[in-house]
Amino acid sequence: MLSVENFSVTFTMYDRGLVQKQLTVITDLDLEVRAGEVVAVVGSSGSGKSLLAHAVLGILPANAETSGRILFQGEPLSAARCQALRGRAIALIPQSIGYLDPLMTVGAQVCRVGQLNGLAKPAAKLVMLETFKRYNLASEVQHLYPFQLSGGMARRVLVAMAVVGQAELVIADEPTPGLHPDVVTETLNHLRELASEGKGVMLITHDIEAALQIADRVAVFYAGTTVEIAAASDFANGKLRHPYTQALWRALPQHDFIPVAGD
């Protein structure tokens, strides 16, 4: 469904005075997400994982330059195609409630996603209520403002927003940090469910443990590129090839608990 080939992102910025500096954040990245599959992209903070998501959605900042290819459903994802598809065929589940408009009620924002997907307002509202029901959100939640949501509710609202549209590829960008373990499991299960419905799910996280719970394959991200793409089962079987992946695995508390050396 989504295949990223030989993909790089470079930022041009001013270093000191008028001296321009090129900063390559993602280099020669390859990744594939198939329908019905959860692919976890795991890496430490600042390794460029979120930028990958932004690149697929075509919302990188203006000073970013990309090279390589991104194919979506077999066709290159050009800027125009990206604009037509984002929010419709490709949906984003953001990191936190900070990605919701603080002065707009949750219902209005979910409805807006429906409208952007071509539904009329009443139809969008119906879909919203259905989706709320599916994710166990009371219909009163639609009148709440983002700051009034609890952590668990917020997660469900954000997942609901991705589902209101008929997205085929869902990109979840760090959906689980700082959450209660129960909420983490719940959110991950929601993502797994989406994959079972035939959508492709790209789970971006630094939490390798969470990723292994639901992912079919895990892409390990290090210094702007994927060092290894392994099946989730390879982790437990000890079939990991790259030393960084092995180090990540060993760093987990339930294994050897050896910290990963800093970059």
Binding site: G87, G98, Y145
Partner: protein, 329 residues
């Protein structure tokens, strides 16, 4: 809970207002009393030579100018307590009446300038913010910086030269054609005389509102929630319509009410240039001729006016922003 907070808010504001008014009246009373302009000379004017010291003494006694300043302030304060602002020396009318008449004339001008600068400023600010760094943004910013740094009276003179002297589109002065009885002035004539002063005031006010709005919109457009909105497929104008305006409106309204003070200050200069007989012009008269009761009265009134504007600005947050209204943050 809500009611209690609102009551506390009101009481706090009222106490501050009373303190402010006391300070403002005390300072203006002392300053005007100490000014080198002799109120009797200013009142008598050109006929100074025909008046003897006895008559001067009579005038001074009638106005209480023979009393020491502290006694006069005390008497004034006592009278204020019973709602009497005193009598204007130059208009020979109660100060309350003078202010009411003059303010009515100024009010239309202020209201037009206020609305115009608010709407124009918001529009230009949004446009500049949406196209940050592009030529349209640069043009608007250039225009705003020039306006922000040009003095009101200079702007007024410039407009007078262009529209009244060269193009002869607008009248050169006053609030009505000269030689026409106040009762015979038509609405059209009044508006005709009103346009230029109001436009002067509003184009000066536009600058700061446009720049503030632009800054706020850029901040909003760089926020996480706008990034998410873009990921949902919103276009730039969709984002501005659904998220931008909503998030810049509160600061804009606050700024708009807080700008009442600048507007009032601008009106003093603009009215002077256009000889527009409003409150601003009366202020200049009162100061130049050392009319203490009128000046203190006007200062009193304008402090009240500006304070109310600021209080409304404070209140809009409490009423409109759901995070404060519901959350009680």
């Amino acid at each position: 809970m809500q009611l209690k907070r609102l009551a506390q808010f009101t009481v706090r504001k009222l106490i501050r207002l009373v303190l402010l008014l006391i300070a403002v009246s005390l300072f203006s009373f002392v300053l005007v009393s100490l000014s080198p302009v002799d109120p009797i000379n200013a009142y008598v004017g050109a006929e100074m030579l025909q008046i003897g010291p006895e008559q001067r003494q009579l005038i001074a006694e009638r106005w209480g100018l023979d009393q020491p300043m502290i006694t006069r302030f005390w008497l004034w304060l006592q009278q204020l307590g019973s709602g009497n602002l005193g009598t204007s020396m130059i208009f020979n009318q109660p100060v309350g009446t003078v202010i009411a008449n003059r303010f009515q004339v100024s009010l239309q001008m202020l209201a037009i300038a206020w609305l115009l600068s608010g709407l124009l400023g918001l529009g230009l600010g949004v446009l500049a913010g949406a196209y940050e760094g592009r030529w349209i943004d640069r043009t608007i910013r250039f225009y705003a910086y020039i306006l922000a740094s040009s003095p009101t009276f200079w702007m007024a003179l410039l407009l007078l030269i262009i529209f009244s002297v060269t193009l002869k589109l607008t009248p050169i002065c006053c609030a009505a054609p000269p030689g026409v009885l106040a009762t015979d002035v038509t609405l059209g004539q009044r508006i005709h005389h009103l346009i230029l002063p109001a436009v002067t005031l509003s184009i000066i006010g536009v600058a700061s509102i446009a720049l503030h709005t632009r800054q706020k919109l850029i901040e909003v457009l760089n926020s996480d929630y706008v990034l998410f909105a873009r990921a949902q497929g919103e276009t730039l104008w969709g984002i501005i319509r659904h998220h931008g305006l909503r998030n810049i409106l509160l600061p804009a309204i606050t700024l708009q009410f807080a700008s009442l003070s600048e507007l009032f200050g601008g009106a003093v200069l603009a009215e002077q240039v256009f000889a527009y007989p409003g409150l601003g012009e009366a202020t200049v008269q009162a100061a130049l001729r050392s009319d203490v009761p009128l000046l203190v009265g006007i200062v009193f009134f304008s402090a009240l006016f500006v304070y109310i504007g600021n209080t409304i600005a404070d209140l809009t947050y409490q009423i409109i922003d759901p995070r404060i209204r519901i959350g009680g943050l």
